[in-house]
Amino acid sequence: MPFWDRLFRRPAAKPQPDGAETAPLDPGLLGGELRGPAMRRIMVGTSQSTGVERAHNEDALFALLGSASGEGSVPDFGLFVVADGMGGHRSGEVASSVSVRSVAHRLAKDSLLHLLQEDGVAEDMPIQELVRQALEEANHSVVSRVPGGGTTLTAVLLLGSLMTIGHVGDSRAYLFSNGHGEVLTRDHSLVKRLEELGQLTEAEAAVHPQRNVLYKAIGQGANLEVDVLTHPVPKDGFLMLCSDGLWGVVAEEDIERIVWNSPHPQIACDELVRAANAAGGPDNITAILVYFPAD
C-alpha cells in the first residue's frame, strides 16, 4: 500500500559525489576589502569592555540607526550615546544607564517618532533645544534617583545630513575625514581648563594626577549647562564616540589608523577595545563608530 510505503519506506539513497574537480579559489578574492558597494550606506559598530583594572563596567552606550527610502520617506536617522559613570558602590553604573536611557527615550520620542508620523510635521522646538532639554532631564533623573552618582554624557542626534551633539564631561566625539581627525567636543575637565590657560601642556595633562577631575557632569545638581552644537555629517568619513578609557589610553594616531584600515566599523571598534586593553586597560572602554558614505 502506497501510504504505508511512504511512511516506512527507507529514504532514497543519498546522491554520490560525482568526482568533479573545482578550480582552487583565487586567494586574491579572499580577504579582499569588504568595502565597495557595501560602503555606500551608513554603517555603525559598537564595542565595550570593562578593561583590565576595573572590576565593574560603569560605562553605558546606546546606538540606533535608521534609514528609509521611497516617496516622501524619512531622512536618515541616528541616535548614539556614550556615558561614563562615577560614584561609590554601584552609583556609577546606575547613573550612566539611567541617563542614557533617559536621553534615548526623550530624543527618540521627540524626533524619530515625530518624523515617522504621517504628516511628518516638524517638532516645534529647535533641534538644539531638544537635545539640551534631553540632557537636562537626564541630569534631574540622576540627581533624584542616584544620589552621589554622576556620569559624563555625549549624545549625537543624526537627522538627514546634520548631526547635533549634546555633551557634558570628558567622553568625546571625534570626526575623521579627509585623512585627519578632529575632536568635536570640549572636555569639561580641570586639566583641559589648565591646558587652555597655558598652565599645562597636552603631554602634562595626559599624566596629571588629577586628570580625572571634572567640573561638570550629569548628576551634579541644578543649573547644569551642557554644550550643544550642530555639524554636517562627513562624506566618506567617520563619527566616533568614546569614553576616556579609549582616548586616554590609545594615542590618536593609532585610533585613526585602526579606524581607516578596518573594513567595517564593527571590526574597528573591536580592534580599538583590544588596543586599549593591550595598553593596560586602566578604565572601562566604550566606543561607537559610524561610517558615512561619500554621498
Binding site: 538644539q128 545630513s161 580641570l190 598652565q199 550642530t230
Partner: protein, 627 residues
C-alpha cells in the same frame, strides 16, 4: 560639588562616624563635649569645656579629624603630618589666628583644641542675606586678611602658606574681627580619591594643580573669595579660573572700578602678574578704601588698532536719501537713490558716469553682470540697463513695488515683489520664466544655490523652492516678517525675523536647528566668517554668534537701530547704524576700531572692493573710505 561619602566601620564606643561625638563624652579626661558646632568635609568641630578649670566654664573648640588611611604606614604618616602642623600652629601669634591649646591623637582620629570663636563664617553671612554685601565692609575684611596673610608669609624659619582661603574658612567674630579658622590641616587627612570626581575647589589658583604652593596662591584665593563675596556667584559652580567671564561690576554695578581692578590683579593666571606680596595688595585695598565714593572708572584700555583717522577717499551727493546698498562691478559703483535714480559712479574717483531715472524710489541693491545692470524700483518695475551708459535694455512689470534685491543666477534674475510673488525673469530678454506665490510681500533677497531658491516673506514664512517653482518645504516657526535675506553655510540657512530672532534652519528639509534671541526686530542679512555669524537688529546691536551652537560670542552697542547688514572684510566687521555712523569692529572681540560719522542715518549695507568701503547715507551722499 559631589564626593562619595564612605561609611566608616565603627571603632570602640563613641566615634563611629563623622559628627558622632555625643554631648557628655569626655576626651583625654579633660575635654567635655558640649555640642556639635559644625562639620564639613572630613572634620567636625565641637564646643567643649576644659575641665582643668573646674570653677568656671572655659569653653574651647575641639576639632576632630578622621584619619582615613587604611594602610598602617600611611596612617602613621598622616598622624605625624598632623602633629607637625599642630606644632607650627602653636607658634603662631596674630589677632586673626585662633590660639591652639592642645592636640592629641586617639585611635582613628586626631584632635586640635583651640580657642572657641563665636561668630559666623563668611559662607553663612552670604547665605543669610539676599542682598549684595556693602563694599566698605568687604574692603575692611580684605585688609585684615591681607594683614594676617602677610604675617604668615613672613613667618620664620619658613613661610606659612594658608592654601585654603575661602569664605567657609573665614569667620567674623562677635567683635567684628576677621578670624582664620582652618589651616588646611584637614587636607592632611584626605587620601587621594581614585576615579573621577566631580567638582573643583573654585578658589584655588591654577598653579596649585601643578603642586606649586606659594604666597601668590593665597592672594589668588583671596581675590576669588572677594569676587564671590561681591558678586554672590560661587566659583565652585562655574568652570575653573573663569572669573574674567563674570566681571564684578557687570553683576554688581555698585562696586567701584578701583576695587574691581584690585581684585582682577590678584586673579591673574600667572603668579608673577599678581601683587608681589600681601602687603602690596593691602596697600592697594587701603587706597580703594580712601577713594571709595569717587566713581571715576579708569580708562578701559581698548586695544584699538593704531589707526588714527578714517580716510575718506571721496563722497558724492545725490538728490535724495540713499537707503540701499551699492554694488561695484568693473570699478563702477551702482547704487539706487530715493530720488528715483540709479547712479553709476567711477569707484576710484567718485566721478559721475550716468544715472537712469525710474518712476519710484529705489531702496534695493542693483545686480550687475558686467554688461547689464538690473534694478528694481518702487514703481513696480524691474529695469535692465546697459552698464556702460545706462541705456534701457528691457523693462519687466511686477504686480507691486519692488523692495527686494534682484539676484542673477544662470541666465535668470530672481526678485521678489510686494505683490507676494517671486519673479524669475529671463536675463536677456526680460521675459517672465515663472513666478511663485507666497503668503505675503517679498522684500528679502532670494538666495539661489544648488538648484534651490530660498526666501522669506512679510507673512513670516520662509520658503524653499526648486527651479520649477515647486515648493520643497516651508518654515513657519517665525512669528513675524522675514525681511532679511538668508545665507547658506554648511547645510544650514541663517536668517533673521522681525520677531527678534535669528534662525538656523537645515536646508534640506527645513528643520529648525537653533534660534538666537536678540533685543529687537532684525531685517539685516547675516554675514558668515570663520565659524561665526554676524548680524544686527533694532536694539542697535551688532552681534557675533557661534555658527555651530547659536551662542552669543559678543555684541556691540550702537546708539540707534541697525537696519542695514554687517559685512566682514579681512578681520573687521563693518556696519552702519541709524545713529549716522559707519562702524568698524574687530571681528574677534567686537571692539570698535573706528567710526565714521555721516550726516544722516545709514540704513543700507556697505560693499567692499579693492580695499575700499562704499556705502550710502540718508544725508544724500555716497561715501568711499579706505579700509
Amino acid at each position: 560639588m559631589k564626593r562619595t561619602t564612605k561609611a566608616l566601620s565603627g571603632g570602640p564606643g563613641e566615634t563611629t562616624q563623622l559628627g558622632q561625638l555625643e554631648p557628655g563624652v569626655t576626651l583625654q579626661d579633660r575635654y567635655l563635649v558640649l555640642a556639635l558646632h559644625g562639620s564639613g568635609g572630613m572634620s567636625s568641630v565641637y564646643r567643649a569645656r576644659d575641665l582643668h578649670f573646674p570653677n568656671v566654664t572655659k569653653v574651647v573648640a575641639v576639632k576632630e579629624m578622621i584619619n582615613l588611611a587604611t594602610d598602617p604606614t600611611m596612617h602613621e604618616m598622616v598622624v605625624r603630618n598632623f602633629e607637625r602642623e599642630a606644632d607650627l600652629l602653636a607658634t603662631l601669634s596674630h589677632p586673626a589666628i585662633p590660639r591652639i591649646y592642645d592636640y592629641f591623637t586617639q585611635e582613628n582620629n586626631s584632635y586640635l583644641v583651640m580657642e572657641f570663636i563665636e561668630g559666623k563664617d563668611l559662607e553663612a553671612v552670604l547665605r543669610e542675606t539676599d542682598e549684595f554685601l556693602p563694599e566698605d565692609q568687604v574692603v575692611n575684611w580684605a585688609v585684615e586678611l591681607c594683614d594676617v596673610l602677610q604675617y604668615l608669609h613672613l613667618h620664620k624659619p619658613q613661610p606659612v602658606i594658608f592654601r585654603d582661603v575661602k569664605p567657609s574658612n573665614i569667620m567674623v567674630d562677635n567683635h567684628a574681627t576677621i578670624r582664620l579658622i582652618d589651616f588646611g590641616i584637614a587636607r592632611v587627612f584626605q587620601p587621594g580619591q581614585k576615579g573621577t570626581m566631580i567638582g573643583t575647589d573654585g578658589y584655588a589658583p591654577p598653579e596649585q594643580y601643578r603642586g606649586e604652593a606659594s604666597p601668590a596662591g593665597d592672594l589668588y584665593a583671596l581675590g576669588a573669595t572677594l569676587h564671590h563675596l561681591l558678586t554672590r556667584r560661587d566659583p565652585r559652580a562655574e568652570p575653573p579660573f573663569s572669573f574674567s567671564e563674570r566681571p564684578i561690576r557687570e553683576i554688581n554695578p555698585r562696586v567701584s572700578a578701583e576695587l574691581e581692578g584690585t581684585i582682577n590683579a590678584s586673579l591673574a593666571y600667572n603668579p608673577q602678574d599678581r601683587f608681589p606680596s600681601a602687603d602690596a595688595m593691602k596697600t592697594a585695598l587701603m587706597t580703594v578704601a580712601k577713594d571709595t565714593g569717587i566713581l571715576v572708572s579708569p580708562k578701559a584700555v581698548a586695544a584699538a588698532r593704531p589707526r588714527s583717522e578714517v580716510q575718506e577717499v571721496w563722497s558724492f551727493e545725490c538728490e535724495d536719501e540713499i537707503r540701499g546698498t551699492p554694488i561695484i562691478v568693473n570699478d563702477v559703483l551702482y547704487i539706487g537713490c530715493y530720488d528715483n535714480n540709479l547712479y553709476a559712479l567711477d569707484a576710484r574717483t567718485g566721478e559721475f558716469n550716468w544715472k537712469f531715472a525710474t518712476e519710484g524710489g529705489i531702496p534695493s541693491r542693483p545686480a550687475a553682470d558686467g554688461e547689464l545692470v538690473y534694478v528694481g524700483s518702487e514703481d513696480t518695475r524691474l529695469y535692465a540697463v546697459t552698464a556702460e551708459r545706462g541705456a534701457l535694455a528691457w523693462t519687466y512689470y511686477a504686480g507691486g513695488p519692488i523692495r527686494s534685491n534682484p539676484v542673477n543666477y544662470e541666465g535668470h534674475i530672481f526678485v521678489g515683489s510686494d505683490d507676494a510673488r517671486l519673479h524669475v525673469i529671463n536675463m536677456y530678454n526680460g521675459q517672465k520664466s515663472w513666478t511663485s506665490e507666497a503668503a505675503g510681500p517679498i522684500r528679502s533677497t532670494p538666495l539661489v544655490q544648488d538648484e534651490r531658491v530660498y526666501f522669506g516673506c512679510e507673512s513670516s514664512d520662509f520658503y524653499c523652492l526648486d527651479f520649477k517653482g515647486e515648493m520643497k518645504w516651508r518654515f513657519s516657526k517665525a512669528k513675524r516678517a522675514i525681511t532679511s535675506s538668508a545665507i547658506l553655510v554648511e547645510g544650514m540657512l541663517i536668517f533673521g525675523s522681525k520677531d527678534w530672532s535669528l534662525y538656523a534652519v537645515e536646508a534640506e528639509a527645513g528643520w529648525q536647528v537653533w534660534k538666537f534671541r536678540m533685543g529687537g526686530a532684525t531685517i539685516s542679512t547675516p554675514a558668515y566668517s570663520e565659524g561665526r555669524i554676524y548680524t544686527a537688529g533694532g536694539d542697535g546691536r551688532v552681534y557675533a554668534v557661534d555658527f555651530r551652537s547659536g551662542r552669543e560670542i559678543w555684541h556691540f552697542q550702537t546708539e540707534h537701530q541697525v537696519t542695514g547688514s554687517p559685512i566682514v572684510f579681512e578681520d573687521s566687521v563693518y556696519c552702519g547704524s541709524v545713529d549716522g555712523s559707519m562702524y568698524c569692529l574687530d571681528m574677534r572681540s567686537g571692539r570698535k576700531r573706528w567710526q565714521f560719522q555721516t550726516g544722516g542715518p545709514i540704513t543700507g549695507a556697505a560693499a567692499v572692493s579693492e580695499n575700499r568701503l562704499y556705502f550710502g547715507s540718508l544725508d544724500h551722499r555716497v561715501y568711499a573710505l579706505l579700509t
